[in-house]
């Protein structure tokens, strides 16, 4: 059972078939162990018919075992836990702030410092778009909180290995045929 003391956040990336039910199958494995998915981002990958997911899970060291079980799912082409690897990760947030004409200058100042953008302005509010790691998004949120945050939406983390390495090399080497005998249970 998930034990509060040894929980830590794991960043996991997966290349999956773009089909109904994939998310359900993956979520089911984490749920079974009582681990919470903190964030999840999914979108098309560079390969046709395949999507790439990044998810952050609050889990014990048993996360490794769950990742192995996920790798067994037919719809999961490849999956890896990149928590301890050299990665870049980003998150985007939209923050709607209550603001009148008098405070707008202050907001613009904060937005500039964070290299964020204002993407919508109304007489009494602005929507700020900020991209960065979770720490930056949190810091931005705290500064804007003083002015009155109406609503926040965050995409959750997306992550990638640094350098030219491929996250999911999914061609696995395998000898053509066992010389001794036919392996049983093959319809191939």
């Amino acid at each position: 059972m998930a034990n509060g003391s040894d929980l830590r956040k794991h960043t996991i990336i997966a290349l999956v078939e773009d089909r109904p039910g994939v998310l359900n199958r993956i979520a089911s494995k984490w749920r079974q162990r009582g681990f919470n998915i903190e964030s999840l981002a999914v979108g098309h990958s560079e390969k046709r018919g395949l999507s790439r997911m990044t998810f952050v899970v609050d889990a014990t060291t048993d996360a490794e075992q769950v990742v192995k079980q996920l790798d067994k799912l037919v719809d999961v082409v490849d999956i890896r836990n990149i928590s301890d690897e050299d990665i870049v990760s980003r998150e985007m947030a939209l923050i709607k702030v209550r603001v009148d004409a008098g405070d707008r200058g202050h907001i613009i100042e904060i937005v500039d410092i964070f290299r964020a953008n204002i993407i919508d302005v109304s007489p009494d509010s602005v929507i700020v778009e900020v991209t960065g790691d979770e720490g930056k998004v949190d810091a931005m949120f705290e500064l804007l909180a003083d002015y009155g945050v109406i609503e926040v939406v965050r995409t959750g983390r997306v992550a990638m290995l640094r350098g030219s390495g491929v996250s999911h090399p999914h061609e696995r080497e395998e000898p053509e045929r066992y010389q001794g005998f036919e392996p049983p249970y093959t319809s191939e």
Binding site: V16, E17, P20, G21, N24, R25, S28, K29, Q32, L50, Q65, K68, Q69, D71, K72, L73, V74, D75, V76, V77, D78, H170, R172, E174, P175, Y178, G180, F181, P183, P184, Y185, T186, S187, E188
Partner: protein, 567 residues
């Protein structure tokens, strides 16, 4: 060729070599049933009386035939009734292909009559499942389903097909090849790990092989025997590994674990090298995990990467098909005399003849089981349910016939004994099939006696009738201060019951009646139900109390030890 979706399913079954289907029709799979007769006798359908039994029968069929078992059910309750059988096949790695009818596409997700989200329900207990929304997908799905079910670590696959998809027509084209990017089971071990394993075996003074279901699934009977003989290592088989190694072989030691042989549990605790082959170090085998094989290094031969390192940390891992891994390993191992180890094992066996049956006036359950073993000389298939009778069957049958012991291990569903025996008999028509039943479990699935009578399967059912739910009663006896709640059974007259189904019913209440009724049952050409009315308060030993370590196995409680005549 253009055809209906339902026919594509049958064409797929034909191409996958399916000969037997267990099922029950309903509104949502009638198009499929409509076409079944056209495939007779190449494909035979057996009508069960409850879908759970369709799944268990397909399971029993798969375990002894080495082919995928197939079952049909309708939508909603038909599909949900399969769930226990699917979960059982999932835990025990049995290849099943379950084909369910679904409500028409327009009604899916609208809580129509007999709708259940069976693909959603079975996600955690299937290797993969499909909801087929387009008739053109059927050939591909059929091909993939059988491939996934039967390769790698086998398991159940479910295909849910809406009724209108079954009725739609399209061009049938059997796919030339499979495209499963996310599914490539590894069959071949890493050569370096093989070398390391062989080295560990050469260095070991007190090695043991723990062989599991994987040996039987990959049909590694010869390879396992070759390893044991070539490297001179004694063999223990897990509950599901029983009949993976010859019972009469001098290197064979029987079963370990919660109700395993005392000598095995002690030997594991003293061993310096445990070679787990096609087994997963389940809690019924390891007992208290942190004290499992405390002096041993571990070699794990395992096809499922998610099982490696799950419960124990191996020193060498042969990840791949058991048969291939053992074949590779056998090329590198050498014979080594281990006189001290073998002498010690013999001493353990002498000092603790755990499974000796004591002399009594009354009929003991294990006595009846032992007599069946003696009468058949083990030359039969044995199916069991779950509970005390299962453990006694595992203890007293020393199977020489490969792959002849059919039991539900991981999930432990009572009632398995009746339908699974049907599947075994369907797969092995000329063979003798004994089903060792609990009186509780038998009553969970006994409606299938009608099915058995209809198809004339000459199965011999031995009900070990102790008038209790035996295993819970044993736990109440030992751990709940003899507070026997809801474990006493008010049983029907099983002989009359059998007769109601036009099946021969026999009874033995005294020891001297046991051998004659067994002989009579075996002479009878048709199915037989025997009611063995046995002592109701017999407990199953040896036993590792829950939470204890293997080294703390209770061989026999003090009183009974005296009766057995052991110091």
């Amino acid at each position: 060729m253009e055809m209906k979706g339902a026919q594509m399913v049958m064409e797929g079954l034909l191409r996958e070599g399916v000969e037997h289907i267990f099922g029950l029709p309903g509104g949502a799979n009638l198009p499929l049933y409509d076409i079944i007769p056209q495939y007779y006798p190449k494909i035979r359908h057996y009508l069960v009386k409850h879908e759970q039994c369709a799944a268990h029968a397909a399971d029993g069929y798969a375990r002894v035939s080495g082919k995928a078992g197939v079952c049909f059910a309708t939508s909603g309750p038909g599909a949900t009734n399969l769930v226990t059988g699917i979960a059982n096949a999932w835990v025990d790695s049995v290849p099943l292909v379950c084909i369910t009818g679904a409500v028409i596409r327009a009604l899916i997700g609208r809580d129509g009559f007999q709708e259940a989200d069976i693909t959603g329900i079975t996600i955690p207990i299937t290797k993969h499942n499909y909801l087929v929304m387009d008739v053109h997908e059927i050939p591909q799905v059929m091909r993939e389903a059988f491939h996934i079910a039967t390769t790698g670590r086998p398991g159940p696959v479910l295909i849910d097909i809406p009724r209108d998809v079954q009725q739609e027509r399209a061009e049938f084209q059997w796919p030339e090849r499979l495209e499963l990017q996310g599914y490539r089971p590894r069959l071949y071990p890493d050569p370096e790990e093989v070398t390391r394993a062989a080295q560990l075996i050469r260095e070991s003074e007190r090695p043991l092989i723990l062989a599991g279901h994987g040996v039987r699934i990959s049909q590694a009977f010869q390879e396992l025997r070759a390893l044991a003989e070539k490297a001179n290592i004694p063999v223990i088989t897990t509950l599901l590994g029983i009949s993976g190694f010859p019972g009469s072989h001098p290197l064979y030691l029987g079963m370990p674990g919660m109700h395993g042989m005392y000598w095995n549990n002690i030997a594991i605790s003293e061993s310096d090298l445990v070679i787990g082959v096609g087994m997963r170090f389940d809690d019924r085998v390891t007992a208290r995990l942190k004290d499992f094989a405390p002096k041993a290094k571990i070699i794990h031969v395992e096809i499922d990467p998610a099982e490696v390192g799950k419960n124990v940390r191996p020193t060498a891992t042969l990840q791949g098909d058991a048969r291939i891994c053992l074949d590779e390993l056998n090329k590198q191992v050498r014979f080594r005399e281990r006189p001290d180890w073998f002498a010690h094992l013999d001493d353990l066996k002498q000092a603790h003849p755990s499974i000796t049956i004591r002399e009594t006036e009354e009929l003991l359950p294990q006595y009846a089981i032992k007599k069946i073993y003696e009468a058949t000389r083990g030359d039969c298939y044995v199916v069991t349910g779950v509970g005390q009778h299962q453990m006694w069957a595992a203890q007293h049958f020393w199977y020489d016939k490969p792959n002849s012991f059919v039991t539900a291990g991981g999930l432990g569903p009572m009632g398995f004994e009746v339908p699974a025996a049907m599947g075994v008999q369907a797969a092995k028509p000329g063979e003798l099939v004994w089903s060792i039943c609990g009186d509780g479990g038998f009553q969970m699935t006994l409606q299938e006696l009608a099915t058995i009578a209809e198809y004339g399967w000459p199965i011999k059912f031995a009900i070990i009738n102790n008038g209790h739910l035996g295993m819970p009663r044993q736990w109440q006896d030992l751990f709940y201060h003899k507070n026997y709640v809801a474990t006493l059974l008010k049983n029907p007259d099983f002989v009359k019951l059998a007769e109601a189904y036009d099946i021969l019913g026999l009874r033995a209440t005294h020891k001297e009646e046991v051998e004659p009724v067994i002989a009579q049952a075996m002479e009878h050409p048709g199915p037989v139900v025997i009611d063995f009315q046995v002592n109701g308060d017999e407990n199953c030993f040896p036993m590792v109390p829950p939470g204890a370590a293997l080294s703390e196995t209770v061989d026999l409680p003090a009183l009974e030890r005296e009766k057995v005549g052991v110091a």
